[in-house]
Amino acid sequence: MIRSEIIKNLVPVLSGQLVVCNIGLPSQEMHMFGDQPSNFYMLGTMGLSSSIGLGLALAQEKTVVAIDGDGSVLTNLGTLPTIANNVRDNFILLIIDNGSYGSTGDQPTYAGKKTSLAAVASACGCENVIECQAEDAVSVMEAAIASKQMTIIVCKCISGNIPVPVITLDPVVIKHRFMQCIDA
């Protein structure tokens, strides 16, 4: 199973949730399979999905799911200690770990080699860290949302991409409709 299949499978579970989508293909896939106003698409700024998600969770009470990738988390590895030390039980970080920089041509990341992001997250002090396989993504996400506990999910899958169109929504429109969902 590749990342786009995980995202497609997660669309019903994430319906109506506040979702921060990582730059590049993950955002494009979420947009194609399950666009909704409560999706915040990152059009730039690699690495900050988890940080934006944490800020959102700190500021309000609704559940926030930040979808990140192994390459992006490695870019912003300092995020994991910050998350661990600022626990918000409405925050779920899903790291889809395909061991590669998917949006740039599947170059391998260190997460696909010797580095375990689940072990890194635990070492940083994160308390509910779950490593799962792609096939279990939906059930693990359902349980995480139901648990009302901050959860870090590292979902392993194989690398590979499908063709997806770019997002043409204006960033201010993305922000505006997202903020309207938070106010609602």
């Binding site: 730039g44 690495g47 940080s51 969770a57 500021a59 309000q60 300092g78 106010d183």
Partner: protein
């Protein structure tokens, strides 16, 4: 110190409820003052771009946010300022210690100081330079302006400002 209190009072007056910080020696007092306020969530960040991401999320979540950092961070955060804060039109007051100015004992700080204003100008970021302690009284209007225009705004605070009271 009085300046620390005036600055955090101004943040509080403008309903800033979440502040991320990456420390600088010149900012230790203001960060300590921030820690005393129950109305504000203080989230220390490991790097300034991470802090700006947290601020972006907090603002969209309904809490006004701000970042406190050193001017060397301008070099770290250009991509984030351009593709997140400016691109999505998010307001972000940036209280910045302007290291490498008059009174600086650490020679390497000068290297980033000479680029700081040029970089901020290139990015089109409204920039205010606090040199005299009395300049602090402009902060109230600067914060009002920041949340009016939905832009990142830089407040550079140099060594003369901090030692002058």
């Amino acid at each position: 110190m009085q300046l620390d209190k005036i600055i955090i009072d101004a943040f509080e007056k403008h309903s800033i409820e979440l502040i991320t910080t990456v420390p600088c020696k010149q900012l230790s007092g203001v960060i300590a003052e921030l820690e005393t306020r129950e109305s504000m969530i203080h989230v220390p960040a490991n790097k300034e771009d991470e802090g700006m991401g947290i601020c972006a999320g907090a603002f969209m979540g309904g809490k006004r946010s701000a970042i406190i950092m050193q001017n060397t961070a301008i070099g770290v955060t250009i991509n984030t300022l351009v593709t997140l804060t400016q691109y999505y039109r998010l307001p972000l007051p940036m209280l910045i210690s302007f290291r490498g100015e008059l009174g600086e004992p650490v020679v390497c700080q000068v290297e980033m100081a000479v680029h700081t204003k040029a970089l901020l100008a290139q990015l089109g970021i409204p920039t205010y330079h606090f040199h005299n302690p009395a300049d602090v009284h402009e902060l109230d209007e600067i914060l009002k302006y920041t949340f009016m225009c939905n832009k990142p705004v830089a407040i550079l605070t140099d060594a003369t400002f901090w030692k002058g009271e």
